[in-house]
Amino acid sequence: MKRLAFMFIFLSGCIDPYAPPGLKSSEAILVIDGFIDVTNESTIKLSRSQNLTDNNLPKSETGATVWVEDDNGNNFFLSEGLDGVYSLPAQSFSSIKYRLNVKTSNSKLYVSDFEMVTLSPPIDSITWSLTDDLGVQIHANTHDPETTEGFYRWTFDETWLYRSAFSSVYVYDFESHSVALRADDIYNCWRTAKSNDLLIESTTRLSENRVSQYPIAYIKQDDERLRFKYSILVKQYAISKNAFNYWQQLKKTTEDLGTLFGPLPSQVTGNFKSISNPDEPVIGYFSIGSTTSSRIFIPWQQLIAPPFYNTPYQDCESYSLMMQDVPNFSGPFLLTYGIPNPNGPGIIGYYYGLTSCVDCRLSGGVNVEPDFWE
C-alpha cells in the first residue's frame, strides 16, 4: 500500500514538506523505553515527550526509582546512570511474569502490566541478495518449534568501514610550525548506526512458526556503507501478542502514513498506567525476555561497484603547500602526504585538504577498529 504514492508521482502528484501552523503544545509526558533482557545487562531509559518544533534532545527523567517486580513481589532495583538511563546487571529471572515500576522524583508512580518472559529462538540466518537495481537487501530467517506465539521484533546495529578523502601521513604542529609524521590513523573509520524502522513480523497465519526472508534493511548500490566493508548485527526478540500489537500500531501511525489508503493515525497506548493519576498518559511498552543475535559482513568484493559512491567527500579538493610556505600554514586544514621531488629523492612540499575531508572521525565514526571486525 505504501507504494501507491509512487503512482501519484507518475500522475504528477507530489509530496511536499509541511509544517502545520502552531500545534498546541501538550505537557511533557513520561516516556519509558526499555526491555529487560533476562540473560544480559538491561537498561531502561526515562525521558519526556517534547514539542514537534523542539530540536533538542529529549529531556531525560532523572532521580527516579525504577524496579522490576515479579508476581511474587520480589523486586530488582535498577541503578541510575547518566541521562536518565537506569541499568540492571544480568540477574537470574526465575518467575514467569514481571512488571516494571517507575517512581519519578515528584513521587508519581507508574506501573506496567505483568508481562510474560519471552525467549527468542536463535536466528537461523541473516542473508543478503542483490536487488534488481544492484542494491543490497538483507533478510532474516528464523523458526521456533517450541513456542506457539510467533511474534518477532528485530533491531540491528550496522557498522561500516569508511575512509576519508585523503590519507594523512603528516601532522602539522601549529605551535612549532613544523611537520611530523602522524602516529594515529584518521583515514580508516568505523561508524555504527542503529535501526530506526520498526521491524516486526507475525507467523500466526502460517502453518509453521517460521519467518522466511523477512526484509531487515535495504542499502542502495551507491551507498557509502557498501564501499569498503559493511557489517550488520541483527538482534531478535520474541515478543508477546500484546507487544506485537503495540509495535504494529506504532509502526502504522508513524511509518505507514501518507498513502491514499493509509490508516487514520490514532493514539497508541502501551502497557503502563499512572497509578497516581489514572487520566495521565504515559508512553512505552515494557517487555521482558531474551534476545538472540547474528552478524554478517558484506565486503565490497562481493558487490557490483557503482560509477560513484555517495559520500560526504565528493567535493574534497587537495591543495599544495610548498616547503617555504610551511611556517605560514594555517586554517582548518590538515596535511595529507608529501609532494615528491620530481628531480630527486625527498619531498618538496605537502598536500593538504580541509580537516573535514581528511579526518574521518568528523564524519561520525571512530578510528578504532571494533572488536568484532574481521
Binding site: L4, L11, P20, I29, Q249, P265
Partner: protein, 919 residues
Amino acid sequence: MKLAHSFLICLLFTCLAITQAFSQRDKLISGEFRNQPFSQLVRELEQKTDYRFFFNQASVDSLVVTISVSNKSVSEILDEVFRNSEYRYAIDENQYVYVTTQEPILTELPSDFFSRTGSASDRLRRKTDNSRFEDAEKVKIEKLITIGVRGSTNKTTASIAGYVRNKKSGEPVIGASVLIENPLIGVATDPNGYYSITLPKGTHQLKIRSMGMKNSERNVLLHSDGKLNIEMDEDVLPLKEVVIESERDERVLGLQMGLERIDIKTMKQIPVALGEADILKAVLTLPGVQSVGEATVGFNVRGGATDQNLILFNEATIYNPSHLFGFFSAFNADLIKNVELYKSGIPAEYGGRISSVLDVTTREGNKRKWGGSGGISPITGRFALEGPIVKDKSSFLIGGRSTYSDWILKQLSSSQLKNSEASFYDLNLNISHEINSKNNIYASGYISKDRFKLQGDTSYSYSNKVISAKWRHIFSNKFFGVLTGNYSGYDYTISSENNPVNAFDLSYTIQQLQAKADFSYFLNAKHTLSFGVSTINYKLSPGTLSPTGSESLVIPDVLQNEQALESALYVGDNFEVSSKLSLYGGLRYSLYRNYGPRDLYVYQNGSPKDVNSIIDTVSYSAGEKISTSGGPEVRLSARYSLLRNTSIKISYNRMRQYIQMLSNTTAISPTDIWKLSDPYIKPLIGDQLSVGYYRNSRTKSIEVSIEAYYKIMENFLDYKGGAELILNHHIETDVLNSMGKAYGAEFMVKKTSGKLNGWFSYTYSRSLIKTKGDSDAETINRGEYYPSNYDKPHSVNFIGNYKFNRRFSTSVNMVYSTGRPITLPLAKYSIDGSERLLYSDRNQYRIPDYFRTDVSLNIEGNHKIRKLAHSFWSISVYNLTGRRNAYSVYFKSENGVVNGYKLSIFGNAIPTITYNFKF
C-alpha cells in the same frame, strides 16, 4: 408589396370564414357571462353545442368576457366577444373553432388550390395562398386527437396514458413533463418513458417537454380513459443549451426536494482530469456532496458516510463504483441516460441506505437503426454499439471501456513503475423488447474488473458483476407494475507471490439477489399511489485466506459466511391537495433477518467486548434465525406554492441500513469490507428533516434555491484506534457504536438557459460523531462530538458554460472547500533511539483549504445531420492554477527523525485531449 398581399389575404379569409360560419345550421344559445375568463365561455359553449375550440391558452389568458346573449349562434357570440379585439376565429366543417390573434385560420383549401390553370395574378395569389397554408398546416399537425368514447362514463375526469419516445431511436424519454397549463396538471414520465395523467374531460393542449428534445404539443379531446403514445424529435444541436428546460419548473413546482438530476450532456461539459466524462465527478459538483479528496470515488452526501449511499445501476446495487483507485467511476458515460441523486425526501420505494440514493439508468439501444459511439483519451478508450434486433420491437446496446495505463507504465524508465501494473475494463449489455403495447421486458448485464500491482509486490483485483431483468406490465391506463429481479456481486482478491513461503490469496465476496415488484396506480387527478414489495438475500464471504504455491506455509483461514434477508413493503401517496399544496406520504416497513449457519461469540455482560471477554460460542444451524430487526420508515414531503414562481417544501424521512462498510482508511480502499448487521452490529438508522425555498425568476431562466437539513444517524460505526478489519473473526471487538449528526444549508443559483449558463452553490455543512462507550477503550475524544473525516463546513462550487456558437463551447469549474479534519501529532518522543509521535484527539485539526479551477473547450464537428460520424473534441485542463491541494498531511518517522509532509494527488495542471465519435 408584402403588406398589400397580407391585406388581400386577410380580407379574403375573413370573407371565407364568415360565409362558412353562416352556412352552419346553428344551435342558438342564451346565457350571461360576467368577467369570466374566455376559457369559461369556451367550456360553456362546448357543453351546449357540438363546437370544439382550439386556441393557444397563453394568447387568451388576458381575455375576460362580459356578455349577455339570448338565442345567438356561436359565431354571433364570438363576433361580439372579439369585436374590436385582436382576436380572430375560424370555424371548419367539423365545427372546430380556431381562435387566433391578428389573423384567422384558413379552414379549407381554396377551391382552385390544385388547379394548374389561371392567370399570372392568380398564380401569384396562389403562391401567397400557399405560404399561408403552410401556417395552416402547422396548426393542423397539432390536430385534435380524440381519446376515448364520448359519453361512455359519467365521471368528469379521464386519464391518458402512454409512452413518450424518441422518434429517431425509439428509446423512451425519461423524466419528460406531460402537462396542461390551465389548470396546471402535470406528470413526468417514468424510467420507461411511461406517463399517466388524469384530466378533466374536454379539450386540452398537452405539452410535452424534455431535455434535449424539441418541445411538442398535442391537442386532445378527452372523452374517457385512453392511450396516447407520443414521439418527440431530438434536438439535433446538442451544444445548444437545451438542458434542464423541462426541469426548470420542476424545482419549484415538483413535490420532490433534495433531488438532483444530471443529464449526460451536462456531465460531458464538466471538465475532468484524464478526459472521461464521469458521473461521480459530476455528482461531486452538486451542493451537499463532498468527498475526502480527489481521486476518491466514495462521496459523502450531507454528512453521511460513503457507504450510506445506495448506488443503483439499472436498479441493482453497485458496491464499488470506482476504477483505478478512484480516478474513474465504474460507469461508462456513453451508455448512461440519466442520473438522479436523492439527498432528502427519499420516496418510499427506496431503502437500504440512510444518506442518499444515486440512481443511474442506462439507455436502451436504438430500435430503428444501428449506431455507435466511442472516445479516445490519453488513458482510456471506449466504444459502444447499438441497434435493433427486431425493428421497433427490440434493441440492444453494448458498450465497453478499457485502459492502456498498463502500457504507459511499461514505457516509464523508473524501475519502480515498470514493475507496476494497473488496468481495468468494464462491459455493459442492455436488451429491451416490447412484447406488445402492455408488456415490455428489459435485461441488462454489467461487469467491471480492476487489477493493480505496484512495484511488483502485492496485487489487488476487484470486480463488480450485475445482472438484472425487468418486466413491465400495464394493467390499465391507470395501473401498471414492474417486476424486477437482479443479482449484484462484488469481490476482491489480494495476492502476494513474491516470497514463496508467505504467498497467499485473500478474497472477499458479496452476493446479493433481489426480487421486487413495484406498482403505480393513478387513482385520480389528485392521488397517485405507489406500492410494492422487495426482498434481498445477502450472502457474504468476508474473507478467505489461502496459500498459493507448494512452498507456502500460509494456513488457510476462512471467515464464516454471513447470510441475511432484507425485505420491505411500502406504500406511498402523492396527493395534489390543490394547485398550491401537494403532499407525499410514504411508509416503508423493512424487516431484516440474519440467519445461520454461523457460530457467534458471546461476550461477558458489562465488560468491553474483546477477546478476553468471550465467554461462550453459540452455533446456529443453516437457516436458523440469529437476529432480526426492522421497523417502519416514514417518508413525508410537502410543497406549498407561495406565488407562481415560488414554493417552499419540507420533508422528513427515516431510513434503515442493514449492511455497512468497514473502513478505517480515509478514502474507500479496494480492501474495504462490508458487514451485515448482526446481534452486535446494529442497523444504522438515519432521520432527516429538511426544508427548502425555491424561486424561479420571471423568465424562468434563473433558479434560486435554499435547502437546510438536520440529520441524526444512530448506530454509526466507528473504530478503535488501529482496528484490524481484515480477516478478523470477531470484528465486533474492534468497532464502536457511535452517534452521528449532520446539519447544514445549501444555497444554489442556477441559470439554465442562454449562451451563458451554469450554477453557483454555497454549502454550509457539519458532520459530527460522538463515540461514548462504557469503557475508555470504547470512547473516543472523551465522548464528545468530533468532526467526521468528511466534515467540510464551507464549500463553494461554480460551474459555468459559455457557448460561442454551435461548434465551440467552453466550461469552467471552480471548487473551494474547507480542508478536511485530520489528527495531527502534538508532541514527539523517542523510543529505542527513534522519534515517534503522540497524536491529538481525533480529527481536531484540518488540512489546508482546497481550491481548484478546471477549464474545458468542446469542439463539435460540423452539424450536418447526415454524415458518417459525428465527432467531438474535448480539450480540458484540470487544476488550471496548478495548486497543490493537500490530499493528506502526515508525519513520519524517517531515519529516526520525525518529518511532516503534505501529499497532493495532482500537483500540476493536467491537460487532456479526448476525441469522441458517434455514428
